[in-house]
């Protein structure tokens, strides 16, 4: 893409453009970014309007439909491709006859809201720890860096799996109700606990290279407090690397959420979730492959879209990086 293409259309004088405006220009011309952004938007929307599907289909994600099952065949769905029909667009679940489309859209809701909340929590912790560790250096840095090292030394999936019942026990004994009201906060805690060091490490490196720059010195000479330097001077200059790190980390958060649920340490039935749909489909994968395929392929598409969008955002914000 030549520079002329990127130049603003107006000829009224030379206008300075901020780095973010330039990055936006680049993203605007990136077809991959648009398509992957569209896929993500689509999944977000179906999650948000999930209750609407319930109205259209006149059933709920948890109601049983024995009429769609063939009792003689071991309660498998009637019809091809897992019972796809005009009443059940994605077919029905074997044994129970629950509508898969509804479980799918409500599952998008659970999966995405847990993964995105965990991303947010991990990002906030990671950014704060990275900023403090990089800016103050010395003892603070040593302690915080050691902490990151120790968290990374834990076998993450195994530990996440193991710690879930314990944390649940602690939260329940402190008065939270049993079930998903406790389980979901526990999942968010666990996923973000293992996610923040990756973000903190990158932020720390960026801060170290930035804290000796002239504009920080200037602010310091003007008598700015250290908190002002960290959060008002340095942080605003870091949003690009932070955005890139977060964009590239979201897929792994989504994957972990589904994996935890798949292994049985996640969202509890009957609440729907893509990971639990996959888990529920395992006994039937050879007779009703469609049931496995729908949530599995959707997860693949979503993670792929986030990966591609992350790459695009990185390329737009950091033009030096070559693919």
């Amino acid at each position: 893409m030549s520079l002329d293409q990127l130049a603003p259309a107006s000829t009224a004088g030379v206008e300075g453009r901020s780095p973010s405006a330039m990055a936006w220009e680049r993203i605007k011309h990136d077809r991959t970014a648009w398509i992957s952004g569209g896929v993500i938007f689509f999944f977000l929307i179906i999650g948000i309007i999930a209750p609407l599907f319930q109205r259209i289909l006149h059933t709920s994600p948890n109601s049983f439909h024995p009429e769609a099952l063939d009792e003689a065949m071991g309660a498998m769905p009637i019809g091809h491709f897992g019972g796809i029909s005009s009443t059940h667009w994605f077919g029905v679940e074997p044994r129970t006859g629950r509508d898969i489309l509804l479980r799918f859209v409500f599952g998008a809701r659970t999966s995405l809201s847990i993964a995105l909340t965990a991303t947010l929590v991990a990002t906030v912790i990671g950014v704060v720890v990275g900023l403090l560790s990089g800016f103050f250096g010395g003892k603070i840095d040593q302690v915080l860096s050691r902490m990151m090292e120790i968290v990374l030394a834990f076998p993450s999936i195994l530990f996440a799996l193991a710690i879930t019942p314990v944390l649940e026990n602690v939260l329940e004994s402190s008065g939270l109700p049993k079930g998903n009201a406790t389980r979901i906060p526990v999942m968010i805690m666990v996923i973000s606990t293992f996610g923040w060091p990756y973000i903190a490490r990158i932020v720390r490196g960026q801060v170290i290279s930035m804290r000796e720059r002239e504009f920080v010195d200037a602010a310091r000479a003007l008598g700015a407090t250290r908190l002002h330097l960290v959060f008002k001077q340095i942080l605003p200059n870091l949003w690009a690397p932070i955005l890139v790190t977060v964009a590239l980390n979201i897929p792994s958060f989504i994957t972990q959420e589904a994996a935890l649920t798949f292994l049985g340490a996640g969202v509890i039935e009957p609440t729907s979730d893509w990971g639990s749909m996959l888990l529920a489909s395992v006994p039937f994968y050879s007779v009703d492959p469609m049931y496995t395929f729908i949530p599995g392929f959707a997860l693949f598409l979503l993670v792929l879209a986030f990966n591609l969008l992350g790459d695009s955002v990185r390329d737009a914000l950091d033009p030096k990086s070559s693919r």
């Binding site: 030394a153 993450s156 994968y285 496995t292």
Partner: protein, 330 residues
């Protein structure tokens, strides 16, 4: 070099001590009633009282942790009931409340299956990843590069359990080329070992080689644009020599790091793979222990996995020194 090694081993030991404290704290101190939690599902008040007694939960925390650490280092003896004793030699991680077996024995039973998965898969994904990354970098922009990058991106976006089920559907249920995966010791039958492990290996190789292909490609392209490569070319070295002796050599260091950490993680239990294919390894042991809330077994699997990760870290650092003169001299 030797001093560095000693320092790294001591550092690794410290990390393990902290990990053991965290694990101890999380599983034995934090819960409202650890004995109740340790007791599992089939629990009676007598059993709780017994566990509280054998775990010495009435003692102060420092003594409790001391006994826990003592068990690992020199072994300990548990009082079972009022008279019976259970001898637990070092490294003692307690005994399972579910099966009454020593945790160390359970770990020993399950280790071979995990070792088989980890070694076979890692050889496969390292070779495939490196090869496709090298070809991609050397044929940058050509169709084979685009194809292998597409495969890598697909692999990086797929889930282990999804791929596992698809492969099992194709190769076991439809084509019937393979039996349902399972573990047979290679000392019993090599061919059964290979056919039983083939799907876990393929699944992990497909997903993980993607990362190596991307890393190799990016690393090699970066090195190729360095001045010293132009110099090497200008002084007339063959392309083959430049690519393998100079480019790959520099590009391989970050790959060694990732490989070491992946292998360390896998040795601690390929949790999801073992779960889907129902292979009796360490990861499967951990998932079983979690669903039975069998605390000592959970602690044991987590500790063992942490040991593997710490060792992998040390080995990676040492390899780094061998591979990268800059690290060696600083």
């Amino acid at each position: 070099m030797f001093r560095y090694l000693v320092r790294r081993v001591i550092g690794g030991g410290l990390v393990l001590i902290i990990v053991s404290m965290v694990v101890f704290g999380l599983f034995y101190v934090l819960p409202a009633d650890p004995a109740r939690l340790a007791c599992g599902k089939a629990c009676t008040p007598e059993l709780i009282a017994e566990i509280r007694h054998t775990l010495e939960l009435d003692q102060p925390l420092t003594i409790q942790y001391g006994r826990f650490a003592e068990g690992i280092l020199v072994g300990r003896t548990y009082l079972k009931g009022s008279t019976a004793q259970l001898n637990c030699p070092a490294p003692c991680l307690g005994y399972s409340y579910d099966t009454d077996e020593l945790v160390t024995n359970l770990l020993k039973d399950r280790a071979p299956a995990t070792l088989s998965i980890a070694l076979g898969a890692s050889i496969l994904f390292l070779l495939v990843g490196l090869a496709s990354g090298i070809i991609s970098a050397l044929r940058r922009g050509k169709w084979i590069d685009k194809f292998s990058q597409g495969v890598a991106l697909t692999g990086a976006s797929l889930q282990i359990y999804f791929v596992a089920l698809i492969l099992q559907f194709i190769f076991v249920d439809k084509l019937q080329w393979l039996h349902t995966p399972g573990y047979v010791s290679p000392f019993t039958s090599v061919s059964q070992w290979v056919t039983g492990m083939a799907l876990p290996w393929l699944t992990l190789a497909f997903l993980l080689s993607a990362i190596y292909a991307r890393l190799t490609r990016a690393g090699m392209l970066e090195v190729m644009s360095e001045d010293y490569i132009r110099t090497a070319r200008a002084k007339g070295l063959t392309l083959r020599r430049i690519n393998f002796k100079h480019v790959l050599r520099s590009a391989i260091t970050p790959i060694v790091t990732v490989f070491g950490l992946d292998l360390g993680q896998l040795l601690g239990g390929a949790v999801i793979t073992e779960y889907v294919f129902n292979i009796p390894g360490l990861g499967r042991l951990a998932t079983e222990a979690v669903s039975n809330v069998d605390l000592p077994v959970i602690v044991g699997t987590v500790m063992l996995a942490a040991v593997f990760i710490v060792i992998a870290n040390i080995v990676v650092d040492l390899l780094y020194m061998v591979l990268d003169p800059k690290v060696r001299l600083s």
